[in-house]
Symmetry: C2
Subunit: 461 residues, 2 copies
């Protein structure tokens, strides 16, 4: 045990510390596969007081701290590759006081997203933030990265569901932010500053989350489309005519990987270049008729080739698997992920330019398109050819990145819509934020983290 | 003209400057009546470049700047009482690019709230932030104070409707915050830091506002209640049974002032101690029946004495006047306003304690209760007896404040739910924010406003 670590053990004898190789590897990485984990050790605090003790120790010994939740991040925000102490919150995973009148629930940061969803459901309520990793992602990480997912079009990002936050700052202060109040105009809203700050200002050690009433029964409609340009046309038709809770799109290549990976049958007899999956309110199956009429209209216009509408909750779930299976099915190909967004009205022109750019620049790579088109958010995954070395592949992708991001900048878009910045996108921050903004971000980090011990090297250049 | 002002005129010859006494009085105050206006002059920029020029000049000459919108604030945030230059945005009042697909609209800061509402309506859309002052309040001020109002229970505060902000910081930098994107996880969200910052970090010079679909037709139900404690009981019954867009309450004293002030007839034959006004979705008058059933249930329980349900849009508007007329009707009494909030589940216990406290401490003053009870937000207005001098009245109120705020602190509440802090509540900030938070707020102010020229003395002690 290194001298600083021995000192930590001495100061906090109850604190669980792991230094075995398995733990260092396991807790040193998120889902990003471009880094070698090399943490000093893993700390697993059980109380807020232990978290504060860790921060005080880190300031004293100038040791960097990396927060660790479910480590399902895709930008390296939870990677510890430089001798940092990883602070894992998985032991702080209690769901606390439920307030039925205010419709809020107090959670520790290690609560798994799906556990919160289930808890809410047991109370006749609903926690609407949902995504493929919800079975292992943790609430503290969701808040630190302002997680999005498949219901953003109706329910917004994680930010919208945070009524109060308890944080330990990089200076070791314990702050109670907003206290779960619906209305509180008493100065700068630090709660919103911490949401999406990726652990660079402090640790989330508690959260009061909002819940809502469950939606009416949902139907799922899967449509086959002849061209990328039709995706937005179909979106506009359905958005006007039914109450959408999701509007996702994916390419035939994406579907191909899902079919090859799992036990699903093809949804249509003939393959189409693109697909969209819509989820919509369907109280007492009354939405069916409206949805079918809109489907007919799109069919007449030639914007849609075929479609299938779920006839049961079970079939709705099955249709979702075509979309939700994509990310896992391409993981073996070490995808280089781009997660970009533009204002939704600019999506058609942006997609046309991007399609041309990628076709010209990645002639030898397979490019998988999917995303939350209702939010203007595209996930572009470039797959590594098996024969190519990881570093060479990454270098090739980063070269194309320059052009992709130039396009994003031209369209006033975001270079990271929901994955955050972390390590992987840190050097591209200037695509979406001006030099002045970045300088001010650094100034703000100093206010909360004067010694620069909180997740250093992430987010900010 | 003072030498610094002459220099400003020389640097920006096109800039409209007013120094006449009427203008100094008019632009030097908001709706708060406790201060003597004494600005240096009034600047009325027409362009962002002029705003930047003013800030550069202010830094050079160390002149304090006070932003000025509709000046309908209730906490003195727009008061200029110490030789400041008032920067009025009323000439920057254009409504710009409308984006039908993204459902956003670009606005200059001087756009009047009602003008934005009307513009949205003309496009078949809806801007839901609404309050008594919406005919004169301006968007820049709404954003700087995170304005709330009567629809918060369904639509949230102004914060929820800001998709992008253009600001000029106290260092003179022009920042484009979030660019109107639905998803953008690229570091600290400065947009949310500026919302509610009361002009202490910089000026809002442009905003991309979200719009939404209009609600279905609304019905209004006015109920007479026997006791303050029944307000929350009635709220819980109706919130479960109908789709509420407003839930307001007021005391019989409040109603008395409205009736004395205007041409309205009393809503019920017999007076009751308290009233609640509900607005609810009523598509094709189908909500009526549900609402009437809930009314019957409350009547049986003895929680309600009488009620009237609007039979037309016109009658709905008339019922609203009982609630909306309160603020204006008591203005002649120079009310001392408290705008406090607690978590909604704690409202009954809080109201009981507060009622006892006010009855004991204000035996000689008339106390008017009303508020947005669905958000946990109470407006407590203490009226000045005509014979009492303003300063003596204020001193008496501030003495009681100490006890009111001690109660707010005990209940984990907010000492300013929607009016903001400004000058009037500045010295009470510690009721709702810890000493560490206040120190960090001061640190953040320094990042954006290194010379302390932006609305100094407001918000922060």
């Amino acid at each position: 045990m290194s001298p600083p670590l021995a000192r930590l053990h001495q100061q906090l004898p109850q604190l669980l510390l792991r230094t075995d190789d398995n733990s260092l590897r396991h807790y040193g990485l998120d889902w990003t596969r471009y880094y070698q984990p090399a943490p000093l050790a893993i700390a697993q605090p059980a109380t807020v007081a232990e978290v504060q003790g860790i921060v005080r120790w880190a300031r004293e010994h100038q040791v960097a701290l990396v927060p660790s939740g479910g480590r399902t991040g895709l930008s390296g925000g939870a990677v510890a590759a430089n001798g940092e102490l990883v602070v894992s919150f998985e032991r702080m995973n209690r769901i606390g006081a439920f307030d039925r009148v205010a419709r809020t629930i107090q959670c520790e940061p290690g609560v798994v997203t799906a556990a919160l969803q289930q808890y809410a459901s047991g109370k006749g309520l609903y926690y609407p933030v949902d995504f493929a990793a919800s079975g292992s992602s943790q609430l503290g990480g969701n808040i630190a990265t302002n997680a999005g997912g498949i219901k953003v079009i109706r329910y917004g990002m994680t930010r919208e569901w945070v009524a109060g936050l308890t944080v330990v700052t990089g200076s070791g202060e314990l702050l109670e932010l907003n206290r779960g109040l619906a209305k509180n105009n008493t100065g700068y809203d630090f709660r919103h500053l911490f949401v999406g700050s990726e652990g660079t200002l402090g640790f989330v050690v508690g959260a009061t989350m909002k819940l809502t009433l469950p939606p009416p029964p949902q139907a799922v409609l899967l449509l086959a489309l002849p061209a990328l340009a039709d995706v937005m046309r179909v979106f506009e038709v359905f958005r006007e005519g039914v109450a959408l809770s999701a509007f996702e799109f994916f390419s035939d290549q994406a579907l191909g990987h899902v079919l090859a990976h799992g036990q699903l049958a093809a949804p249509f007899e003939v393959r189409a270049p693109f697909y969209v999956l819509l989820e919509l309110d369907d109280p007492a199956h009354s939405g069916d008729e409206a949805a079918l009429q809109l489907f007919e209209r799109c069919l007449e216009q030639g914007w849609v080739l075929d479609g299938v509408l779920s006839q049961s909750a079970q079939q709705a779930q099955q249709l979702w698997r075509y979309r939700e299976g994509i990310s896992e099915s391409i993981t073996p190909y070490t995808p280089y992920k781009n997660d970009i967004a533009v204002t939704i009205s600019r999506v058609p022109a942006f997609i046309a330019s991007l399609d041309a750019l990628l076709a010209a620049n990645y002639p030898d790579f397979e490019v998988i398109w999917y995303g939350h088109i209702g939010d203007g958010n595209l996930h572009i995954n470039v797959l590594k050819p098996p024969a190519l070395a990881l570093e060479a592949f990454r270098a090739a992708c980063e070269q194309v990145n320059e052009q992709v991001f130039a396009l994003v900048r031209d369209f006033g878009g975001s270079m990271s819509a929901e994955h955050g910045v972390g390590l992987l996108k840190r050097d591209y921050l200037a695509v979406s934020r001006s030099a002045q903004e970045i300088a001010m971000m650094q100034g703000i980090k100093k206010v909360f983290d004067p010694d620069g011990i909180m997740n250093p090297g992430k987010l900010l250049p």
